[in-house]
């Protein structure tokens, strides 16, 4: 907005001058109108939250340890889930974008499955797979004594399951758009395919990875269904902000609104901060 205004001002002072570069063209109505409606549609519920927020009870809420615990846990687990998604998701995206193997189309569709799966179903699926009695979980339990449900690690697992597809899809798209010949150039210089990926491809697609990571982080932060189903709800251990919000909604809707505001403020602050730092060049 400021940029447009500035360029407008410059155009105004230099009207008719030879350095006037940009002519302001009218925004077409068929784009402006739906765009404005979309913005209003997205912002209105948030505005309503702000309008109905119990501002007077906010200070007491913000000093409650349970809220801080939940917020801390939310930030920690969303960040951990993003890290897991990056470590595992970027290589998967590379495989999907850069290698040929039978059934790749099917694999890609399967990767997006957690996007369409209702998160609660995802949570049940995770229980069936990694639960104490699950397909894999029973071995984790009997061999290593690891049980994921009802633990913070379980929260990270649930959030990763839901968030990773966002990262994979975003990174795969960036990889497809990136010129694979840079990797070739690197191999002619003696780089193995992995070195080429690490030293050339990775820096080249960094903006796409950052965008995917932000998406995944945001998704993980708001994750509710899979988390409460797989990891349960225990303050300080598995109760993230969305869970706290949901349960507060049961008997104290005002507190729920206040908690939502806290979550929103923190996430907007983090996302805006990241955008400035990571995506300045993009």
């Amino acid at each position: 907005m400021t940029k447009a205004d500035e360029s407008g001002a410059v155009a105004g002072t230099l009207r008719g001058g030879p350095r006037r570069r940009r002519v302001r063209t009218a925004v077409p109505l068929p784009l402006l109108l739906p765009g404005a409606v979309a913005l209003a549609f997205l912002l209105l519920p948030l505005l309503a939250l702000l309008l109905r927020a119990p501002w007077s009870s906010l200070p007491s809420l913000l000093t409650s340890t349970e809220v801080w615990q939940a917020l801390q846990l939310s930030l920690l687990s969303a960040t951990a889930a993003t890290a897991v998604s990056l470590v595992l998701g970027v290589p998967l995206a590379w495989l999907l974008a850069r290698t040929e193997f039978p059934g790749r189309g099917l694999v890609r569709a399967l990767v997006t499955l957690p996007l369409v799966l209702p998160p609660v179903v995802g949570g049940v699926a995770l229980l069936l797979a990694l639960g104490r009695n699950g397909v894999v979980g029973q071995w984790l339990d009997s061999w290593f004594g690891i049980t994921l449900p009802f633990t913070t690690a379980g929260v990270v697992v649930a959030e990763s399951f839901v968030a990773m597809p966002f990262l994979v899809i975003s990174v795969e798209g960036t990889l497809r758009a990136a010129d694979p010949r840079y990797e070739e150039a690197a191999t002619t210089l003696g780089a193995s395919r992995f070195t080429a990926f690490r030293r050339v491809t990775l820096p080249l697609i960094a903006p796409g990875i950052a965008a995917g990571a932000v998406l995944a982080w945001a998704r993980a932060l708001g994750e509710f269904g899979a988390t409460i189903t797989f990891a349960g709800n225990f303050p300080g251990r598995t109760q993230t902000m969305p869970l706290a919000v949901y349960l507060a909604l049961q008997n104290d809707p005002e507190a729920a609104i206040a908690l939502s505001l806290v979550l929103l403020t923190v996430s907007i602050a983090v996302l805006a901060g990241l955008r400035d730092r990571w995506m300045a060049g993009a």
Binding site: D179, R181, Y182, E184, A185, A186, T187, T188, L189, G190, A191, S192, R193, T195, R199, V200, P203, L204, A206
Partner: protein
């Protein structure tokens, strides 16, 4: 192999694709610069990629200094490539682009940077070492790419259209610099281009390929004088015909005969430059010229202060004339003209 293993390149490249077949024999001695010249789609770039190991050979062989390279992955081949659009890594400085190869070959960070600095210095780019590729001019980028390829000390240097991305003025400078660097290079250099001038200036030997096959091979001078296909003749700016020679006359396969000064028998080519052609509106009287054909102007093109007329009719040919002459003749497409060429200005050679 009964011969002692020769140094340099000894390759028979066969790459079969559904719509394309490359079958190319290519040899080069160390220190030699060979240009692969051919029209678009001839398979030049495929040949280059096959040499670099980026495209697998369907069959054939690839030996460099006696070592079999077919099946060796690209990162293990002693091959350096300068890509058409250079493909400098945009996130690395010029110095780090050049240091990339030595680093991959096991040098420490400091060593590889020192080597890279030396290479950039040789290229006259020392002051641009810290620049990112997008801040380099086309000519500078080309030299960084060359330095990057040479920094791995390759035994085979491949250059894919090294000057194509440059504008005409830069091209002149870069071409002469590249010629100097290639002359200094002690191993085999293969250059792919569709520009005959680049090929002739830069290469010791030309290999002309069309549709995946070698159609002619030789020194630039040899090929310029004795083109064997329309494409080459066009490139070097000659009218070229094929026919049967009987003494001083070559009877063309389709159409008239051409008188020449050479005395030949059997299949032969006749070539003459467009500037050897003289045009008349009316049939020249008293002319002894036996090489006289009735033609029609199909098109006119300006080349500097010259006009090239594309003629059809008895003998399709290209004729160069001055703008003044063209105006006097009132040439425009569809005009009927008479074209003559003196026998002394033609050149016939066995096919």
């Amino acid at each position: 192999m009964t011969d002692p293993i020769p140094d340099g390149l000894d390759a028979h490249l066969v790459v079969a694709r559904p719509a394309f077949h490359l079958d190319l024999t290519l040899t080069a001695a160390p220190g030699e610069v060979v240009a692969l010249l051919g029209p678009n789609g001839a398979g030049k770039t495929t040949a280059l990629r096959a040499l670099a190991g980026l495209t697998p050979l369907t069959s054939g062989r690839l030996r460099l200094d006696g070592e079999e390279l077919d099946g060796t992955p690209p990162e293990s081949r002693p091959v350096g490539v300068v890509f058409q659009d250079y493909l400098l890594f945009p996130h690395l400085t010029a110095l780090d682009n050049v240091a990339f190869g030595p680093r991959c070959h096991g040098a420490t960070k400091a060593e590889s940077r020192a080597q890279a600095a030396k290479w950039l210095d040789r290229m006259g780019l020392a002051e641009h070492a810290g620049a990112k590729p997008r801040r380099l001019s086309g000519g500078q980028a080309q030299r960084v790419a060359l330095a990057r390829a040479l920094a791995t000390r390759p035994r085979l240097l491949l250059l894919d259209e090294p000057l194509a991305a440059l504008d005409a003025r830069t091209r002149l400078d870069v071409r002469s610099q590249l010629r100097r660097h290639l002359a200094e290079f002690e191993a085999v250099a293969i250059l792919v281009t569709h520009d005959p001038l680049d090929a002739m200036v830069l290469a010791d030997r030309l290999v002309v390929i069309e549709q995946g096959r070698v159609v002619q091979e030789g020194t630039p001078a040899d090929i310029a004088r004795h083109p064997r296909t329309d494409y080459i003749a066009h490139l070097v700016g000659l009218n070229l015909y094929r026919g049967r020679a009987e003494g001083h006359t070559v009877k063309l396969e389709a159409g008239p005969s051409i008188s020449t000064t050479e005395d030949l028998t059997g299949d032969a080519f006749v070539a003459f430059p467009p500037s050897a052609v003289t045009l008349f509106r009316d049939r020249p009287t008293g002319a002894s010229a036996r090489n006289l054909w009735r033609c029609e102007v199909a098109g006119l093109e300006t080349h500097g202060d010259q006009i090239r007329a594309d003629l059809t009719g008895e003998l399709p040919l290209a004729a160069d004339l001055t703008t003044v002459a063209a105006a006097e003749l009132d040439l425009h497409p569809g005009v009927a003209v008479w074209a003559t060429v003196k026998a002394t200005q033609t050149h016939a050679y066995p096919a």
